[in-house]
Symmetry: C2
Subunit: 436 residues, 2 copies
């Protein structure tokens, strides 16, 4: 009873502070439940002056990364530096010096995962990354282990809390994108530079990781089609609501017979879907397995304590040797695995929401309907309010399932119509499979 | 690469057939993902004639349990017999003969878990039981490992699909309890003898298991206060809906400063809660951890393939050695653990829904309000429709938080009032903590 585990924590920011808090407050309980006693041997950060509100024993906090890397007594290195540069070199140095690694860094794994996982395998070490996707939700382990008996057919996730906070603010309080973003920044749910969140890249990083686990195939970050929320107009959120839909930034992975569809984009989903009701900074993912059917996971996807919860859970699994065993056999994590064959975007079938600014004149709707019909796109609902301005009127159309390539062609033709006054707005309408 | 794992499956019913299907259909993929190749060495059942729609190699299916127990080449025994008698002896025989055990049997673990876990520890073996709670949802592993860094403060679960199917039918289609039960039986969601489901015992079995994992304390099945749905009246579901509440059979585990509240009973929850929207045979559990906040897990809690999904996931974890390592250190599973101190029922704080059949006469409401007030119970809402019958009128009252003991006292006093014509109906109103 009572294995001592020495830890080097690199990056003493928000999440790092959370990890220290959990070890200090729950260390004894963790020992009681797992037989493991974690000892923070090194806490490394450039800034060793700032008060984080937690006390560390003398000598533990320092800025000498090489000292932590060189300490052979350390069992586990926790990487909380972020970014794909220094963090990557540090992780590989830690692995090469014989330490297992726990990381919350989705960008690093999505963009340099193959390289890092390969080093881990060469060294007989492992990399744990529960905290890299959806913070405190035990999603990585649920997909990798809990659903291991399934062929996973689809995943639909709200995996970026910043975007969800902004879209929730727009939807529930009628704020514009700019105002909602500003409030998210003030509330601490968006960075000063929110680019990676709002442009969809962060969601795609997580999708690359979760898709690799779900499908057991290698997924290149660059194979994911990405569209962010930075162009979302409050008007479209409101029209969607009128039609019974909520707008969410979705990360989508779907298996079809020959290929995988991997994409991140704003999407309308029916208000009856559990995903539609996920609001504020929360994350949630629907996962469909062939045996289990629909499963759904919900919780806080970011923040000090939820992310620290996942980091410490990983430290326990690594120290017990469980991560190492699963890691050794998992394909797509540095072990030779086929690259996922990605479906050509134009072949993807989807429903669509269209908003057109049309001249308010007889015959206009006939023009629109003709172009859609010629492109094999069928209308399922439409909405036209009485015009307030004299020069144009918004026409909102929901379609049945159509091919993305056909829609792209129709959009070009619609824009060329003399009676259409602005570039058409087109949003995917996503309908997860029915189960029950 | 490629560890061979020999399996003895005992109980070739619905779930057993599902396990065989998964191994036959996904065996190769499981090997690719985990390096494990499962071989069904024995499938044991009393009935070796019935056609289950799956083919087994000659000699695998037999009815000689002793032969499976005595086969030293078997690594894992899968117990799908059910019940607490034969299944218990069988599990212990398997452990004593050096096999790890995977089981879906919640009754067995809730009622004889200590005995079984103790034998497993003596033998240096483990027992895996993901399938015992909420079928395909990876809930056992999420609570035990995924949230291991948390002090878990509360759980609220819909953990019996039969009851949820019945209550959903009553709520959404206005069926009486009897009709909804009959339809659940016809649809295969209720057994011919549904007693253990509808009386709440099955939910309490699962609560005992999940509570033990969440709190790391031993929970006696007999310490759980249990009330089933067999007494639920459609009228109360309708009044609840009018007030914005859905009725669910909830399994509840709450930590307070000095004790744990453990109970199963029908409860009204606000329609805004994710749990309120779980319908049909689905299960879902809200878990609150001090670091992670609110997490929520949803999926199919029973049935051939969802349960088999969890059984096979456990087989993988056991074969990789992960379950064994976690099991060895987990308290409350045969390792000496404190008994959870259970809160006295009368001290529990709850909101309540009350329905009284009152004589329609001046001053009656004053009588009722006086008795509630004298017992320190404050009214938060009430509802009285115009009377259709001449002799009594239903008065519906929602209370603020009150002490269970005070409510019990008030109920006795109310029933004694001459103006109250029938025993008052009282239902808990449950409000999970707010997070976000």
């Amino acid at each position: 009873m009572g294995k001592q585990v020495k830890v080097a924590l690199v990056g003493f920011g928000t999440v790092g502070t959370g990890v220290v808090k959990i070890l200090q407050n729950h260390g004894a309980e963790i020992t009681r439940k797992t037989g493991l006693t974690f000892e923070l041997a090194h806490v490394v950060d450039m800034d060793i002056q700032r008060d984080r509100g937690v006390a560390l024993p003398n000598g533990v906090l320092h800025n000498d990364l090489a000292r932590a890397v060189g300490d052979d007594a350390v069992d586990i290195a926790v990487e909380l530096v972020g970014g794909t540069g220094i963090a990557g070199e540090m992780v590989m140095d830690m692995l090469k010096s014989g330490k297992d690694v726990v990381t919350a860094n989705k960008a690093l794994l999505a963009e340099r995962g193959e390289e890092i996982f390969a080093v881990a395998r060469q060294q007989g070490r492992c990399v744990a990354f529960e905290a890299s996707c959806c913070g405190g939700i035990p999603l990585v382990s649920s997909i990798r282990s809990g659903l291991a008996a399934n062929q996973i057919n689809a995943m639909y996730g709200i995996v970026n809390g910043t975007c969800n906070y902004i879209l929730s603010g727009m939807s529930s309080q009628g704020k514009t994108y700019e105002v909602a973003l500003q409030e998210a920044q003030q509330a601490g749910f968006a960075e000063a530079d929110p680019t990676l969140d709002v442009n969809g890249a962060d969601s795609a990083h997580k999708l690359a990781i979760l898709g690799t686990l779900a499908f057991g195939k290698r997924i290149e970050f660059s194979d994911i089609a990405i569209e962010g929320i930075d162009g979302v107009d409050l008007k479209d959120i409101r029209y969607g609501q009128e039609l019974g839909y909520a707008m969410k930034l979705l990360a989508i992975a779907e298996r079809s017979e020959k290929c995988f569809s991997l994409r991140v984009h704003p999407a309308f989903i029916s208000e009856d879907e559990p995903l539609a009701r996920v609001s504020g900074p929360f994350n949630a993912v629907s996962v469909f397995g062939d045996a289990v059917g629909h499963t759904f996971y919900y919780g806080r996807g970011a923040g000090m304590m939820p992310t620290a919860s996942a980091v410490v859970a990983d430290m326990i699994e690594v120290a017990q040797g469980n991560t190492g065993r699963s890691f050794a056999s998992a394909p797509g994590l540095g072990r030779q695995a086929e690259l996922a064959q990605v479906c050509p975007t134009d072949k993807i079938m989807s429903r669509f929401y269209l908003r057109l600014s049309a001249v308010d004149r007889p015959g206009v709707f006939a023009h629109i309907a003709r172009i859609l019909g010629e492109n094999k796109i069928s209308i399922s609902a439409c909405l036209q309010h009485e015009s307030v301005s004299s020069d144009s009127v918004p026409v909102v159309i929901m379609t049945h399932l159509a091919r993305q390539g056909d829609m792209d062609k129709a959009l070009v033709e619609l824009e060329e119509l003399a009676v259409i006054k602005a570039a058409p707005i087109c949003v995917h309408v996503v309908t997860p499979p029915k189960d029950g």
